[in-house]
Symmetry: C2
């Protein structure tokens, strides 16, 4: 039996290599295409340089944060003895690989945009091929690096960690690997927040002065902020999203592995434990292989329309999803996991949940449906009613994804638990593996997601290079296609974040347990019984620490958690506001001081605008990110384990709902504007259009800065709590 497990395990590193090889191949293929006219090349060069310059600044700050945290972990591991010695290293690699995934993705995207525009000069289909294959580079790099990191660490830790007890070893290995999740989360938060601030400062600034004041179209080369805007798409939507989903993907696998290790700790279950730990990794790996199959299935005829393109993309993702549904059954069976039919159903539930949330997102944000049309209609009574209706609809829209997650979570729990609520360890494993299932085909879903900003940038390039109406129309078609697939992608991102965070709560208690043992507290008093710490169940710890809803420490933790979600969004919203204001001032200054910009005689100073966004993002990203790291530590020191559990569930429940609200409100404002630009309610240039632009502008930081950052905030706070558990276990003020 162990033979099958080991053979299956080697699929993981092998798949990592294969995925990276295909990514490399797609990248090379893309690079062979022509970048088009000298003007197109020059513009792409501008954008590429700006993006790299920004990333360099971001990494500088991130490196400082990583150094400080690593020193803290070294102290915890080597001096205070409240954490194991592998933690600092795992943390660093998680951050490094996450950054790398974003970097490669962005590099590819900045090379691909002009090439996509150039290919779109030939046909829609050719444009799609370049953009989509470039998106696939990102998708495969993200999952490839994640699988590589996971399998490498497993191999290393498996060799070196030896506590004498096999089951205990596995628990230490998997919880140590979670630390690398914290590295990835930290990197991801900076990338999302920094990238989000950069891109929206540029976007908002460009729109406010360019579109509204000067009355020039989007991406017009006369707008000084237009290059910064295009740079923003790359650093925010590509690099930010890459780091984000790297973290989601790795996080869900690691959390499930840790739950699997925790579920089978009794003597004689060692074999089952190995299976439970391997299962999420292997499903991720096989899903990646199927993603590659799916990517090749995305093909259309030369005379493709937008509709056939969409169905081509759909064919690819559906193929991968259906195949993983079937294959995961056999994987689980081969691994011989207890109640493998139930666990398999949890995976199916995860996939369906992600898909359903995507559809719900689409319903609430696409102009093809009533909610967004209603928002568009409000433009007739001005900007205020557009905002009121957008906020109202966004808030309302949270009902469906939340209920979907509730049903999905309960089903995933019960299926794996054999329909017995008391079987908590298997139930939680079911929640974790549902998230893994949801993200198993990330290789291709991310490809369809990442290709959106590439198409967007291609449109920018086409506009600035003056390629003419027809090309722009094609890139717009590609872009709007991207919006639809992005809705599905967001569903997966947000749904998996909720499930993973739920699963991680159990890992937190696992780490507390390990922390207690390390501190020499080998028994705990539960009610009147004395229980060995090592064999205490989750329920025992709940009683021991009184993690019940009548404990004021739990309730106050929840208040602080809910507040953190709002404060974090407030900080990032204001950051965008401030950076955008600086951008507006600069664009106005250039129009005023540099003669001939508006007539097209002089080129505006693009670089200065890129610099302003970079500086703004750099200055503003630190506070919200540090808050996310510090809060769980402080709450732990003051309120102890029960307070931290309250904090984590508070930020999870509020943050999840807030994230959906912001993403959906932002998305529907965006599409309401596009709907009007397509001719409804007076079309471009009308008063209604102006009102719609206000909505879209407000929605920008909602959907691209604050909203998506919340997913990471939730998980980062959980990860910090997990890594710091040794400290919290040592004692607290109250």
């Amino acid at each position: 039996m162990l033979g099958v497990q080991n053979i299956l395990f080697w699929i993981v590193p092998a798949t990592a290599i294969i995925a990276l090889a295909f990514a490399w191949m797609f990248f090379k293929q893309m690079m062979k295409k022509s970048e088009g006219t000298p003007k197109m090349i020059a513009i792409a060069e501008h954008v590429r340089k700006g993006a790299m310059a920004y990333l360099k600044q971001q990494y500088k700050i991130v490196i400082i944060v990583f150094i400080v945290l690593t020193i803290l972990f070294v102290l915890m591991a080597f001096v205070w003895n409240v954490q194991n010695t592998w933690v600092p290293f795992a943390f660093l690699t998680g951050g490094f690989f996450s950054g790398l995934a974003g970097f490669f993705g962005m590099k590819t995207a900045t090379y691909a945009s002009a090439r996509t525009a150039n290919a779109a000069r030939d046909s829609l289909n050719k444009g799609l091929q370049v953009a989509f294959r470039s998106g696939a580079v990102m998708g495969l790099v993200v999952v490839g690096l994640a699988l590589l990191d996971i399998s490498a660490w497993y191999i290393v830790l498996n060799i070196f960690i030896d506590s004498g007890d096999k089951a205990h070893n596995m628990a230490i290995i998997t919880t140590t690997m979670l630390t690398f999740g914290m590295g990835a989360s930290t990197q991801a938060l900076f990338a999302r927040v920094g990238g989000g601030i950069f891109t929206k400062a540029a976007d908002v600034g460009a729109d406010l002065v360019g579109k509204i004041e000067a009355g020039i179209p989007e991406d017009d080369p006369r707008n000084p902020a237009t290059i910064a805007d295009n740079v923003g798409d790359n650093v925010g939507d590509v690099a930010g999203m890459g780091a984000d989903l790297y973290e989601s993907y790795a996080g869900s696998i690691l959390a499930t592995a840790a739950l699997g290790a925790a579920a089978f700790m009794k003597p004689g279950e060692t074999n089952m434990q190995v299976s439970a730990v391997f299962a999420p990794m292997i499903i991720g790996a096989v899903g990646t292989l199927l993603s590659i199959v799916g990517i090749f299935a995305v093909k259309t005829k030369e005379n493709a329309t937008q509709k056939t393109l969409l169905s081509a993309l759909g064919r690819g993702t559906n193929l991968s999803s259906i195949l993983i549904m079937i294959l995961s059954f056999f994987i689980l069976k081969a691994l011989g996991i207890q109640n493998y039919v139930g666990v398999w159903m949890s995976i199916i539930v995860g996939l369906i949940t992600g898909w359903a949330i995507g559809k719900e997102t689409e319903y609430f944000t696409s102009a093809a449906y009533k909610p967004t049309r209603n928002i568009a209609k409000q433009t007739e009574t001005g900007a205020a009613t557009v905002i009121i209706n957008g906020i109202g609809t966004g808030m309302l829209s949270t009902a469906f994804p939340v209920l979907t997650i509730v049903v999905g979570t309960i089903l995933a729990y019960l299926a794996s638990a054999g329909w017995d609520f008391a079987n908590m360890s298997m139930g939680l494993y079911g929640i974790g593996i549902a998230a893994v299932g949801m993200l198993s085909t990330l290789g291709i879903t991310l490809a369809t997601d990442a290709y959106g900003p590439i198409a967007d940038n291609a449109g920018g390039n086409a506009e600035m290079a003056g390629l003419g109406e027809e090309v722009r129309k094609r890139t717009d078609a590609l872009d709007s296609l991207g919006n639809t697939t992005a809705a599905t992608g967001k569903g997966f991102a947000i749904g998996s974040a909720a499930l993973t965070a739920l699963a991680l709560l159990a890992s937190y208690i696992e780490e507390i347990k390990i922390g207690l043992i390390r501190l020499g507290e080998t028994t705990i008093h539960v009610e009147e019984k004395i229980i060995p710490t090592a064999t205490a169940t989750l329920s025992d710890f709940m009683t021991y620490y009184d993690v019940t809803l009548m404990n004021p420490k739990v309730l106050m933790g929840m208040f602080i958690g809910a507040m953190m979600a709002f404060v974090f969004c407030g900080l990032t919203m204001n950051a965008v506001g401030r950076a955008a204001s600086a951008m507006v001032d600069e664009v106005r200054r250039q129009f005023r001081e540099i003669k001939g910009i508006l007539t097209g005689e002089t080129e505006p100073d693009y670089a200065r605008c890129v610099e302003i966004s970079t500086k703004g993002a750099q200055r503003e990203m630190l506070l919200p990110s540090l808050l996310a790291i510090i809060t769980p530590i402080v709450v732990g020191l003051i309120f102890g384990v029960s307070g931290v559990m309250g904090l984590l569930t508070g930020v999870l429940s509020s943050g999840f709902v807030l994230a959906i609200f912001m993403a959906n409100a932002g998305g529907s404002w965006d599409n309401a504007k596009k709907y009007i630009e397509a001719g409804a309610h007076g079309g471009k240039g009308s008063e209604a259009h102006k009102a719609a632009i206000v909505g879209d502008t407000v929605g920008d930081p909602f959907k691209d800065t604050s909203g998506p950052s919340l997913n990471i905030l939730i998980k980062l706070m959980t990860m910090v709590a997990i890594v710091m558990a040794g400290l919290t276990a040592a004692g607290s003020l109250l």
Copy 2:
């Protein structure tokens, strides 16, 4: 000892009578003043009629809901035997008195506005006297009716309820009285939601067409929606607030009484139990007497300026607060409550917490401070940045009130618990009594709060009657004074809501306990022990129902709770949007079809606009209110006790933060606009002003519809759970 208790108890009904007598006296005094010119009288008549017409419609719907719920309670009490037989009656009186408080308050306000305007023709001070004394009518009616209802029910139930065991009797009496809290909450929610939708539909509609499109000033008689707007102030800010605070006040006293009864259930503690139950009532009563003293202290010289007026108001409230701080010590001592110094400290903590939240609200919403000035500055880059910055700042501002409540709650808990976290029953009693302390001087704080809309309406009357610049300036001064005191009032409302809801969680478990006993389940299994249900502690029930943060039912309940807060706001926001759109259409129609409105030759059709707001509110108030009532029942039936506890803590934590966000964002947009109207950033009519109006318009439903309704939503859902506990105790699906 029992003698002292009984003597002190009779203060409660006596105070109720005294408060109502003073209210009657103030009302009579106000009615003696002249209503001014025939035009002023006519306008006041218009507003009064409109307000009464609306209230009639609202009560019609509320009566239907009450009939349905009463039938349900009758079934539960008399047929299914899962609730006691007093519940339907208590429920009805709670709703009736709450409605009455709103009705009297509004009646007074509609008589007072023209009289205030007329008095302001003489001097600022005379205007203040009329407006403030009329506000005092509302304040005293609210607390008087609440104390009357509470003491009457206590007397009645004390005679009739006899379970054979004295301590158990008291538990049944106090938990039955909570049902009357549910009646009050139900009435309050309809009043707040309906009134909020009415007033903001009219306000937004009037502003959008009148101010922005037609360019006529606020309250201009040529605007067809202007009467509706003034009616709205009365039905929303007066009647809605009256019902709201009646519910808060009664709710905090009832919750604390129930906690007091639960804290001393052991044989031999009966005497202490009576004291603990009486304490919140007596403190409320004495606070009311001190409020009357404070009301008389509000006097100024004839040549008063705005500043001296504010200090006059401050003198009144401070006097009452300081006196209650001192007297409550002696009350608690006389009652001989266990650890009375600690309990007294909890009261002080409550008062300070409320005051601090008020100050924080003021800082974040007053144009005297940086946050609102920053929002005002954003008007220079247009409406979008105003909205972004307002939302960002509103979200950020949640940090301080939340941390204040966290510190306050922990201190109030620990002080009463003798600094021992394990002493849960006394700790929770401390949280409850802190809320009682916070609201003890409601008589006067509500007077300073309710006088705001009266002054606002007086301004409207003055404008429409063409009384000239000087009078309008004085009413504006009174109005802006009201804004400052309203900030403090909101702090008390929101702070007490959070504390009361926390305290009510324990009452929920108490009711579950009573429900189990009624069902014949006299013992519960906790771990391996069998415990008599009657003597089981809160902790035992937490273990029995597994109300821990690892139970997926709890976590899913939290998700649904957090979602409910957002969905409820979404529904009310959209309701305002829709009703405002209808109003805009109507005003535009009148301008178009009725010739001579804008030249002032023809009077617009005011009544039609009132009708539209009424219809809009009537149609839209039902769904959100029913959702609040149905959700706890459904969650209870599906997920059981643990799910309901999750739901309640989820809606409490998210709703509390969301409410602060919405109130503060709305308040600062309002004041940013006023700041610009006072001349900053270009002043009235500038582009900046237009952007500020967009912010203010968006803020209207934030601060006057959705935000304040959330307080009630949180408590209503908790009350529903409590009243339905018998049903939930009987079993659930999962």
